[in-house]
Symmetry: D2
């Protein structure tokens, strides 16, 4: 971490020789100062071709041009390497829409990080299927939208969520213990943009009441998983996980309580990686350049 | 954890045979239902005599009398064993006064736990040497006291803190990243009642700027320590500690950020142990019946 | 841990009031010095009745009689409480038969602990389906039995294993990365006596090649599980688990390597708990009094 | 990890623009296939100038020349960047001399890893100030040298150790719980080549009996530290650390036992990083490209 404005290139392309040299050569040619760089060759496996991943931070004022021209000049290099790529600007705050239900821990945690400027984001709004946190969110000067979800109104409710996200110019949607399953349409509309925190160490204990499942099985550690949301429940690419030790004296309620500490920490770490363009999706897996 | 009302005996006495039998015999005689019990014999060492520690939770409505009579009837047993003891009632919420300066993370974390009733406490007030969190605290319906501390007014300032704590009928004072050193008088007035969170893995990096000290030394893990405050800075009995992995790419600012996640978790765990009478002090060490 | 000879009572019984008082009263009556004691009430759940678990270490020479008489005198107390119970003597080394295939890590680890007298056991023999470690084991003065297992000879092979275990007066069988599935007969013959180390964080990745399964799913932590062997593969009561962090740069081979460090540590911890009578089985779960 | 032969460049140089482009451009020019690459800019601090660190693995058979010519051709690039550098060949096993006293755990652990070819090394000899492990080491076909160390013979003893190390063409010396303090001359002769495992989480508990120190202080976690040996006791650059949780019931002897598990794991990890040229020393700190 450093205090300077920088551009971040996050990219992947088919593996071949000379990729780093080509990309860093481009920056060197323009005297771009590379602050941080990470590279990873993902071997061919299971029908996936070998693919190369990279993330490069370049100091903004070391380059003799602005972001638009950087993108224009880099485009031919990217084309040459058949790259999927994007370049973001650290001076432009990402817009994160938070979805929440009735549990405090992730919401308070995210707002504390936002208040402390630890997360360099805008929160254009919080959306909830309950109005529990209306006052708390609005006290922070953040708009709060109550969008109830019932068995009958799901299509309309998720259409409304999507409308609010679009209206907010959201970059990222965070399900901060949002206890409803998003519609397949919403999942499909924002691939790699919706982060969920699941309260188990996936792939164990998919679905409802994972702590109760963990209690039944008698495991000695419980965990939480931050993953991208896809249409298939709890099956999206995993971004971050962690666990905590429990023992025989812990009831399911104790596990719920311990689990919250893991959930909020794992969500915050996963979100940070995502916001800093450190997460590159490869099929159903992620490359995370911490 | 369970939902029933219970009384908690926390006690220690010189070690001898028959202690458990005597104490649990007392409860059995009155048909007291023991929900949880922990025992520990601390061996004689370094001039300390061998001492026996215990914590017993008894279901309130299993006993044929109320707390006052329980205490009266238990007193002779305790006297016989030369015990230091107390019995608390889970239905009586402990009163926790929070001291804070300008950092959000511990304060937000504690208030979220209080809101979620995860911590079964009253917060009669928050005291700060800055007015940063006045609005936030008051939004929660909690009184906020701004007690500035300057090099010149320390005795008066800490006298005022003590007055507020007494007026609040506080049981416990929590320094939730309170960035001033309490007066020796205040420390002496509330032994085993003031909890601090220190942002290093004690005994490493005592004093100021521990993350910068850690950066200088090139350690690979950083930590936080929850301890009772004594007049000697950062030397009080340790209640809880934890660490997080860092590496060469982490600046002191990164460490500060990572450290916050450890600090708030360690403080919350230490506070919970304290509130549930799970921490018994023995010289400069603690027995923690988790 | 302490250096004195002691007897360990490990027991469980239906929950009711007065259990601790009755049991510790028995020891107090004979002036038995309790070195360590643990109690746990397991709530009624899923059709299981509430049950009480305990483990008590009593200093051998504080009692006025020997083990045989202790058992005889305790029997009526146990009967009164409808207890499942056993009392073991720390001076009698448990006899542990190790089963191994071709991987070094767990075998070397166990023998090092045995050499260092960290594990207070006899190893009457090592049994393997390969002869890889014959020389190494025999160098330690331990008999080595090569019992090949083929698709055709399984019943005979496991009959031979059982014969060797009986002949060795084995208390415990440890599958130290033994890569064959025991016969249902063998599993049934020694419930709660056969410990396995499974190379995944169960219940994730049951069965073969768990690290490859973990790689496919893109998890961020991998683990190992020490459990009692039952006829149902990888479904027995879990004794101990732990995990280690991996990332996108780790191949399945890397995971295998990291995993070994977790496997041997988790197996050694689980084995120690088992040998010290710290593990009490309750249905398909365990109470572990660490 | 992968199975192919590769060359590893480990280098550092003053920070400036274009370093990655220059170095990877050199490899690209010769169609060198980069398997893994890591870069780190260490900011100027405390009188240290900003410095750039890198580690690059290039597939050996992708280059049109052998190692000697690679070095010759790379030398001008390195000179241009004022680099400290070395290139090693994965096909050449490093030669690791193990120093041990009377404790099994690290020695057994290292030999198991060597047997399993998990550590790709030669062990030309084991040196000890006791003859405890002579038989065990020789059974593995490894020469064992007993070099007693007494208060009177230290200069001669360490001269003999140095002679044996030289005669063995040792690359690395590993103090696997070697309980003597090396002479300043020996430390000075092999900077960055001697790895020690210290049985505490440095900088806490420097010197003798760290577990007893930890017990006195009442810490809740204990640790181990792998570091390069310098003339100043326990002050050398830290390569790897880890910790394990303890509690009030653990005696110093328990801590010693738990600690061993951490010690051997931390030593093995640190040694692996070192052997794979993942550790670059910068003043009294390390960059570790895991």
């Amino acid at each position: 971490m450093h205090g300077e404005r920088f551009y971040t290139l996050a990219a992947s392309c088919p593996d071949r020789t000379g990729i780093i040299a080509r990309v860093t050569g481009f920056f060197a040619e323009h005297r771009g100062w590379i602050l941080e760089s990470s590279f990873h060759a993902d071997a061919a496996a299971d029908g996936r071709a070998a693919r190369y991943f990279m993330r490069i931070e370049v100091k903004a004022d070391s380059l003799p041009f602005m972001l638009t021209e950087l993108r224009a000049r880099f485009a031919p290099v990217a084309a040459e390497l058949a790259m999927d790529w994007k370049i973001s600007d650290s001076a432009v705050k990402k817009r994160v829409v938070i979805m929440v239900s009735k549990q405090e821990h992730c919401l308070y945690d995210l707002l504390a990080r936002w208040q402390a400027q630890e997360l360099n984001i805008e929160i254009p709004c919080v959306i909830s299927n309950h109005d529990t946190f209306k006052g708390f969110v609005e006290w922070h000067g953040i708009p709060f939208h109550h969008v109830p979800v019932t068995p009958d109104n799901k299509p309309q409710a998720y259409a409304e969520v999507q409308r609010l996200f679009e209206e907010s110019h959201g970059d990222t949607m965070v399900l901060a213990r949002y206890m409803q399953i998003l519609s397949p349409e919403l999942c499909a509309a924002y691939p790699g943009q919706i982060l969920n925190i699941h309260h188990s160490f996936l792939p164990s204990f998919v679905g409802a009441k994972p702590y109760h499942q963990a209690y039944q099985r008698g495991v000695k550690l419980i965990g939480a998983t931050c993953h991208y949301v896809t249409a298939e429940l709890d099956q999206g690419p995993i971004v971050e996980q962690d666990v905590i030790r429990i023992d025989h004296s812990d009831s399911p309620d104790d596990m719920v309580r311990y689990g919250k500490d893991i959930e909020k920490t794992v969500l915050a770490r996963g979100l940070r990686y995502h916001l800093e363009d450190r997460v590159l999706v490869h099929g159903n897996k992620t490359v995370v350049f911490r």
